[in-house]
């Protein structure tokens, strides 16, 4: 038997992106019960952008942070409960309240380029005796010239033992993952996890190669329920891991039953259809843009009558990062104006 993999389920957090943060109490409670029953190690819950991110600009969540965490906490016993926290959206004050509600793991993250702003929250978690993981979001931004090694060092020096490589844009390819995981494992004593997005159809392949390159933690979600083209699909991932003879102690019968039931549960509640990689998901990955932007780009490109290819290119050039959803409108508005000017000159 090969090494034990820690399965971390992000359906109730990343999945919130797929339904404009409208996950409701019924879904939370049924899903938590499911995770607890089949034996998921870690269950992440909350608004898509994490603690304190419910807002007009990103989207208000149907269930408030506090109620969300309390409900999940009341169900999760064997499975650990984790939350995502991005400084700038969340404050220490929010973090302190969440910790009081009994969160097991705080996954503190931000865009990899600016990982140093996580220090205060990570220190605070340690001071409060809560497990903190580091999350390097939009990891592809630090691929060039191995810039990520400094970022990993920063987190390791803070005392972080678990780091998630988050391919927020679904940009990375298996060859990238292999190189990154091997280099990090060679230099640092740290547990590594992969958070994949499926924009380019690579979520499962990226997850699997991360394991053979030294990783031990995998993020996934039921039916791939997540931002953009979704995450690594839990039931596919678990099956592949089993075939590769990893130590996966899941109840597969219940897993498949629930995977079948889940779209029905969502359709009724949150108007969610199973994800495919739509052209806008492919384009967002090509230009290295956070998957969650797709719905905003879709809306404003129709409103301002600009092509999606142009829209994604323009946003990619500005290197927008998660949280800058507000700027999609401005960029597409400017594109429209430019286009109008050009057509006037032609006339």
């Amino acid at each position: 038997m090969k090494k034990k993999i820690i399965l971390s389920d992000v359906s109730l957090r990343d999945g919130n992106h797929a339904v404009s943060h409208q996950i409701d109490k019924k879904i939370i409670s049924e899903y938590c019960n499911f995770c607890e029953k089949i034996g998921i190690d870690v269950v992440e819950v909350g608004h898509g952008n994490g603690l304190g991110a419910s807002s007009l600009s990103i989207g208000r969540s149907k269930v408030k942070d506090r109620d969300f965490y309390l409900l999940a906490r009341s169900i999760l016993k064997k499975s650990k409960m984790s939350i995502h926290s991005i400084p700038g959206f969340s404050k220490i004050d929010d973090l302190s309240k969440a910790i009081d509600l009994g969160v097991d793991i705080v996954r503190v993250g931000c865009n990899s380029t600016d990982i140093d702003i996580t220090k205060k929250q990570i220190d605070y978690c340690f001071k409060s005796k809560v497990e903190a993981w580091g999350v390097l979001m939009m990891f592809h931004l630090v691929l060039d010239k191995d810039k990520y090694l400094d970022k990993i060092k920063f987190l390791v020096d803070l005392g972080i033992k678990n780091i998630i490589i988050m391919d927020s844009a679904g940009y990375m390819l298996p060859s990238d993952i292999q190189k990154v995981f091997k280099k990090i494992k060679n230099k640092f004593k740290v547990n590594l996890g992969m958070h994949a997005h499926n924009n380019l159809g690579m979520a499962i392949a990226n997850s699997i190669i991360s394991i053979s390159s030294g990783g031990t933690i995998l993020d996934s979600s039921i039916r791939g329920f997540g931002a953009g083209a979704g995450n690594a699909q839990l039931e596919v991932l678990a099956t592949v891991l089993k075939r590769l003879k990893h130590d996966i102690k899941l109840n597969f019968e219940q897993l498949y039953d629930f995977a079948e039931y889940f779209p029905k549960l969502c359709e009724k509640k949150v108007n969610y259809e199973n994800v495919f990689s739509n052209p806008e998901n492919i384009l967002s990955a090509e230009h290295g843009i956070f998957s969650g932007f797709s719905s905003k780009v879709d809306y404003f490109s129709k409103k301002f009558n600009v092509s999606k290819i142009e829209a994604f290119k323009a946003i990619g050039e500005k290197k927008l990062v998660a949280g800058q959803e507000d700027l999609v409108m401005n960029i597409l508005y400017n594109l429209k104006n430019k286009k109008n000017k050009k057509s006037k000159i032609k006339k």
Binding site: L56, S57, G88, K119, V321, M329
Partner: protein, 293 residues
């Protein structure tokens, strides 16, 4: 009239150039702690007067100065205040850090009374409070909540900003609540890693109880253009834009701040708006002191 600037980081040096341009003060002297820092070297190269003994030396020389600018950090300003707090009667202390010391001030429409300890809030606060306050005066109880999302370039966010994200959010929310008298405020901050760096951009979302009519929309546009004109006086490339409501009860306003490129590059509008505000206030103090003589 003489001024002291504590801290020779980006903010302190940028402020220096703005004060020189005002051409009102006899002397502007720097105080910092590390004589080998980048700022110290810069001062020596440019022959700018500097004492590297920190706030202790300033305390000894304090009687020379009328205005003291604190451009250290949130923690630094608390330490400064401990040392010089008792010795600044009849002087002005202008706090450019995100700490809580001083009364929140936006120089827009500041007339007559200038408080003795001044807090410049934060870049997000300086950029948007004037327009929020004017709109609150107009919309009154119809305005139920305000959300501000500020995006600044990663390279313009120095160590102090990065260490003080929490203070930044708390201070900005509190200042909007207090000055504009709005209970529900939410502030968020994004760092953008793009190269070339992006200009500072603020998005405001104003949530209303009831939709506004065409007439009100016109009045709002007038208010916005008026605020724009007034702030441009001290930061010329400041620009507010109004977007027609997305959903009917949400007003969207964006505020772009392009700096003047004194010591800091123009994309660092987030820092420029603080040094511009400090310089504008020092001019008001100068006028007030000279009128009373």
């Amino acid at each position: 009239m003489k001024c002291a600037i504590i801290g020779t980081g980006n903010i302190g040096l940028d402020l220096y150039y703005k004060l020189i341009r005002l051409n009102l003060f006899e002397e502007i002297i720097f105080f910092n702690r590390n004589q080998n820092s980048k700022g110290s070297k810069f001062c020596r190269k440019k022959k700018i007067k500097l004492y590297s003994g920190g706030a202790k030396i300033l305390k000894e020389k304090i009687s020379d100065f009328k205005i003291i600018f604190d451009a250290t950090s949130a923690l630094g300003s608390v330490k400064t205040m401990k040392l010089i707090g008792k010795h600044i009667k009849n002087k002005y202390y202008i706090n450019l850090t995100p700490s809580k010391i001083g009364k929140y001030i936006v120089p827009f429409k500041l007339k007559g009374k200038v408080p003795q300890k001044i807090n410049l809030i934060t870049c997000g606060g300086q950029s948007t409070i004037p327009v929020i306050k004017q709109l609150k005066n107009k919309l009154k109880k119809n305005l139920i909540s305000v959300e501000l999302v500020s995006s600044i370039s990663s390279v313009s966010a120095g160590k102090a900003t990065r260490d003080n994200v929490d203070e930044y959010l708390n201070t900005t929310e509190k200042a909007i609540s207090e000055i504009c008298k709005i209970k529900n405020t939410k502030v968020m901050l994004n760092l953008n890693p793009s190269i070339p760096p992006v200009n500072m951009m603020n998005s405001l979302f104003l949530e209303l109880k009831e939709n506004i009519n065409k007439k009100m929309e016109g009045e709002i546009k007038k208010i916005i253009s008026n605020v724009n004109k007034n702030i441009k006086k001290y930061i010329p490339q400041y620009n507010i834009k109004f977007f027609k409501p997305l959903k009917n009860n949400i007003l969207r306003i964006t505020v772009r701040v392009v700096g003047q490129g004194d010591y800091l590059p123009t994309y660092a509008g987030n820092l420029d708006i603080i040094t511009s505000a400090a310089s504008q206030i020092s001019q008001l103090i100068y006028e007030k002191e000279n009128n009373s003589k």
